[in-house]
Point group: D2
Chain length 494, copies 4
């Protein structure tokens, strides 16, 4: 049977931008690795392909890495017991740079002259290829194809004396987006790139200090959210130190922060607080803005589950049109079924979504979704609504058109595959076969975030996926052939 | 580490009644087993412990059974190719009678003198133990501890001549609840017990005839819902017959039907049509009745996800209080994590649910849930709401108090563990620490289903879990010691 | 890649007759199942496809069955702990009747009215198909395709009252070969068919009573060999009884025994005592007889390892020609390798055997093997010797030509594939490309066993594979089409 | 159950010196990796803990590494197909330096500035720890704890220009024993340390060039043995070159070779040719020398199987005492069984060996074994012989007493555990409870190898395990604490 006959679904659609990574660290907790497992589980939506945890027990580092989810790999006694100590960090990942094989799964680890060094990274180094070539030329041997490993070799070969100076020396050579949690025999280091593109928050539980990509990771372990790590901030937590002995450094010059705006649109969980805002409230406000900007006369507001739900509630409350579950989402998804002949249309989407036919039949509906990437899923959902008898189908999207790729650690299709790059809005409407289609404006999005409008000179967020306005240089992207070269050189481990 | 330190969650809570089984059959489709796999996947919520499919290729029966979900076991090419033929039936199960080991996974199969005989059963035979003892005394050898196998031995040893007569002879000896899909070398047989306690629907896709526990299984394969199989009806679909050649039999005397009312409250998917009603609409109507019967002054209506959502929408629309997502449900659950010390409270519930703290803080909320079984989860959710800052927590339950066990194929705790058996409503309110607690009345439930009220002489539904009014005799239950005896005799396969 | 490009070897050659089963039982030992695991491991040469152990702990039976070897399945603590009790029996098997799937792996088990009944069987019931059809006609439902299950159903449906009488009633209806070890809630039963075709020995270890196919199973657990179970003897060991309370029964009329002669030629381990004779001594004597009957002028006597070694030592000592290792056998075999192009000749045999080239080159050699079945391996070994430089290759076989199939539980190819059925001895010599070929005479074989000659009227052994003189009727064989019919009826479990 | 109740056996006894590695390489064969799999399978006796193969397809390197045997990991189509190309090298290993985890399994691989570099190593670098510390100090990051990785980093950081010069530069810095097969994008490199301590042979099959630890790896693929690689020789086979274009280098000054003498005593397979001698012939000659030096009056010569067999044949032929199989070895070993109570004595040895009781009883026997390491197995075998009724048990050992550890890649116990270090010969005799015990003299061993005697000034072999005369300096051994330090620094991957 041909591969094309196979149908696949994922908990997060192939037709979504995929967040690349989630990171978690804890210092000073008696069962640090059990806490890390829970924290990573709460961050699972940020990366489902692999997970890893490294712990430090005062004498040695212990690591377990595995392909797949946190649950199933880190929920058994034996694994957690094999990760002893009061300090641990962990990582969940999608592959953005480097193929997904076990050697690329983080935390990465190296034995440096100063002792062990473990690192978990969310983001993407946009000059990693160039730095790698230079390092290899000088005799460094890479064990992964991950961009993150560049940082480690820069630390290993730095001419500075203390580990902290070597680490800062390394960071000053890299460009791009990074939130990092590192472990050394002396302590834990957490830092965020100067623009703060990727999120990182700090928490506390008794004497323990925690770091995570999102606050939901603190909720699951019962920790308290303290504050966001600042863009360009580097925090050192010495082992055995009380929460009060942590030291903060700001090694970079003053730069305006530009955190990723898409965290608010889709990536983060609605129950997280991102850079000071409740994600759920922002999304509801986005829905309200969308209703104001793009009203429509209809019987029901229907969310595309689950990511469209908060915006749909906001849209319904603003417009007064009733919010209803017109699409039911299955809890049992994630694999590939054999298609039984050509009679079954749109099977992939049906494994995940089913029309609530009794509700929809004969009605005019507004569908609310967070974004359109390739548009293939939107098309299938509109068709499913029509087959269920919908009289009119109006699509409202809770963000501006996604027209540009991300090079900061988000798995976007190449630009040519983005529907909004290929078509204007009427063209997109025709493609997805909706009766009408409208997007939130870029200023509407900033309004929902509490800004008056986008500051065009010095924008408050990184919104490159909507605007193409990339806040850093993109060295490797400009030398794109390097990537292929790397792939040829590297061993394929089978 | 002790077992008590382990924390477990399930996609459907331990503190819910669990549906026992889903069944699916298709005759006359070129890739019957692929269709069965999809149909069972859509019925996965009815049983997650094991699944099986049997196909008939015109010469031989082929069966694959596996512990675990349909996805992961029946979504690969090799398995489906090893199940050839145009006729197939399948089963997903929880164990209600008989431990869950592979030999109890259905479809069950036997070589009779008339040829092979496969059966998939939803329900529970309430005199199975008694019949089994008699059969063993006469020389029958059982291969499973499943109640379903009794039916097969009754067929094998019947004195009637044709298989159909032998089958009817067998059914007349059993009491309890059963929806059955059987396969023989001549055709497929679908039937429902005289009271129609468990659901069974018929569908059509081109020339193919389909049977399933719920209509969602037809949606996923693109089939059309034709009608419910009637209580006491037995339908024969000869192999190779067109959809028009199916024959219907009614071997039992006229009895008033009493389908399970809990299918509408919780078991069935909201997008299914059960005995003529849209489950989603009924649940919204239940929510509206609940608002009428038990109003409360509050800021938000919050569903306990996901089963409480439709009733919460109904409650919100009726009461005018805004519907909000105050509890966020994780998509990544289903395993057991190690608890990191005693600092983490309510971890089990937190793995699945997290409070939307920014929304809840300082607010008066109405929580809507479908039922209370043991009450342990309700307690934890109320506590979670309070820890998130809720000012008042009012619990409203979308069904009457669950005071009695089910003996018709639903996995209920023994009666002594049901909170509503142990405590009156004020006692329950104190137990779950809510500010107020109210249940839907039994007549309110019947009203939501379109009845004026419960017909106390000849009730329209089986509502024994609420009323204790069991519609059949419970032979084995009255001889409860038999079960232990069975367990002693049987081989433990390890 | 086509299956024909795959090369496979087995510890025991595809080109050997394969013993079908080994059985082991122990009553009265504190860790009966651990003892059974060891005993079966020592009997592993009698069957490598599957293994099983059933224990009785005074209240319940516990069984574990697995495809594959004893080591790897029964050498872990958890499995053995899940098989508690002082009584256990076990089985290793090749499939002779019935495909090899888990449901055919023994011990078989059934819940009878008298309680549980487990049985491990070495042999083959030659009228099993006929009995099965009759039982199914009367309503019995079979769970396996194994001939052994017939015995259980005959017991279940017998009209006698006590289990022992029912068991004897069953045995009187079966024909063929059987050594059986059974377990009931009352005790262990061991018995051997009236002709004693398959072996069975009794041992003792302190108060524990043991039964096994071969004495090596006693050696490994440190037990003492007491005696062979007599042909037609049935021994009952009540649970908890001292070794002195065992009771013996002889339910069959007096018949001359005819134990399998091939046990001495190949099946049994050389360190076993079979029906009173040391297998090693008999094989050496066979080698000596072979040297007397078929002398040859040569430089070295070379065994085909490992089964030809004892006869080769006997041949060398009798002839005065030096015994040398001209073929080295690898210890690492048992799988399938990909053939690297067509340059590698005879790869299958080379994975297992390699010529000791430095020894062989330029020499005249006598190869000693135990038997020739299809002849394909003999051909490859002769060719390997020639490629290694052997000047002359003389093949001497330590048994008469194998011209007939076995129907008593040995996996023989159908008769048409036996080289000795197709060709006379000169033809066989040409086929295997040897310079000369000779077999031991049938009387020579009997002489090696201490007899004057074969008693043609009432032969001392079953030698049907050499002579075609079958000691029982072969009902199923005479109705061979039945087997196909069975295959069509039965469910294929995938 | 305590670990001490578990009993384990290995195909090669725990009480043997264990060879550490086998290596194989082939260049110019259309299915190089399939050939490597076969070659490694034939070398499996040299290392059973892990195996790996790297191939080069003209564009990229492909590697598969696995814990366990070659069979089971490299005998399936998919794995071999994932290793395309005409050049491949492979490795089987015991862990001698570095724990056995997947990252230590060879071939090791690195991306150098010159392209990929893969290496398979047999031997041990005796100054690896010291070199590693220096490299780490300069910024190199190690991915394994294997001594072999030092070579790669020395190449990566060398100041020479061509890869060949860098490689020679690296080799000149290491001390110890190494036979290496390397692959680069230009070609294959095979070399042997200046003393030739570990073996390496060259073969040919058509145009393909092969390298292996032993000639048996050529036999299995049908290749021709060409010659041994000389001590200190480095051979380059450019990709695509004919067999005639290979180039040989001799970068080291002239040194007398000292190949390992124990290869002849035990490590190599009897059908291999090692440094010009047939291993089988040498072992028979060892047996003959042993009979001349240490005669005894006895009934039978009994080999301890399988390693003692050739020497036993030599002893028997020289002494005229009959060679007999008094110990039968099981083919089914390799796991751990649960000990059933304390009644079973010497279970470990019995799983592997069983006395041929019928032969031994009442006889005086000479046991022939290759060596005594800890002596524990010898004791058990002597006891087993006595329990089987042996009247006298005389032990003769086919090598001198093993008094010193090996630091050249052989897994020897620390010196304090060697029986011959702790006791003199009468003490050893008492320990193993034999009636007499004698060893071959060191000069007798050299005689069996065709030398007049050991040349004490410049010995012909490395015989340090017998004499303590180590041919290289042992830098790391003199700084033994370094090893512990390494263990503390390195990450434990779980």
């Amino acid at each position: 049977m041909d591969r094309q006959d196979m149908l696949t679904t994922h908990p997060f659609d192939d037709d979504k931008l995929r967040e690349e990574c989630g990171i978690f660290g804890v210092s000073g907790a008696s069962t640090a690795s059990a806490m890390a497992a829970l924290g990573l589980h709460a961050l699972q939506h940020r990366g489902q392909e692999a997970a890893g945890i490294t712990s430090w027990d005062g004498r040695a580092f212990h690591t377990h890495r595995a392909m797949g989810h946190v649950a199933g790999n880190f929920d058994n006694d034996e694994v957690i017991r094999a990760l002893p100590g009061e300090v641990a960090c962990g990582h969940v990942r999608y592959s953005t740079t480097g193929e997904t094989s076990l050697r690329n799964v983080q935390p990465l680890y190296a034995d440096l002259a100063s002792g062990g060094f473990a690192v978990a990274h969310n983001g993407n180094i946009s000059n990693a290829m160039k730095l790698r070539r230079e390092l290899v030329r000088r005799g460094s041997i890479f064990q992964s194809t991950s961009d993150t490993e560049v940082i480690i070799h820069l630390v290993a070969t730095s001419n500075y004396r203390t580990l902290l100076d070597r680490f800062i020396d390394a960071l000053k050579q890299v460009e791009g987006a990074y939130s990092l949690i590192c472990m050394t025999p002396e302590g834990m280091i957490a830092c965020r790139d100067p623009l703060g593109i990727r999120p990182l928050v700090m928490g506390r539980l008794g004497d323990a200090v925690l770091f995570a990509s999102e606050t939901v990771a603190f909720d699951v372990v019962g920790a308290e959210f303290v504050r966001s790590v600042d863009p360009g901030e580097l925090i050192v937590v010495p082992h055995g130190a009380g929460a009060d002995e942590i030291r903060t450094h700001r090694p970079f010059g003053e730069v305006s922060a530009r955190p990723c705006i898409f965290e608010h649109v889709y990536f983060s969980r609605p129950d997280s607080i991102v850079d000071g805002s409740s994600v759920y409230s922002v999304r509801k406000e986005i829905g309200a803005q969308l209703a104001l900007e793009n009203p429509v006369d209809a019987d029901y507001v229907i969310p595309v589950p689950d990511s469209g739900v908060p915006a749909a509630i906001g849209y319904a409350q603003q417009s007064g049109i009733p919010f209803e579950l017109g699409i039911i989402r299955s809890h049992y998804i994630g694999r590939t079924f054999i298609q039984p002949g050509d009679k079954v249309r749109h099977l992939g989407v049906k494994l995940k979504h089913n029309a609530n036919r009794a509700l929809i039949d004969g009605k005019r509906i507004v569908l609310i979704d967070d974004s359109i990437v390739r548009g293939t899923t939107s098309l299938k959902i509109v068709q499913m609504m029509r087959e269920a008898g919908a009289k009119e189908v109006h699509m409202r999207i809770a963000s501006p058109p996604t027209r540009h790729s991300c090079f900061y650690g988000v798995d976007t299709p190449e630009r040519a595959k983005l529907l909004a790059h290929k078509l204007n809005i009427p063209g997109m409407r025709d493609f997805i076969q909706a009766d009408s289609l409208a997007f939130l404006s870029i200023d509407g999005l900033y309004k929902a975030l509490g800004e008056a409008k986008r500051a065009d000179i010095r924008p408050q967020y990184c919104d490159a996926c909507f605007t193409g306005d990339y806040p850093t240089s993109l060295t490797d992207q400009d030398e794109a052939e390097v990537r292929d070269q790397l792939e040829l050189l590297s061993e394929r481990v089978v």
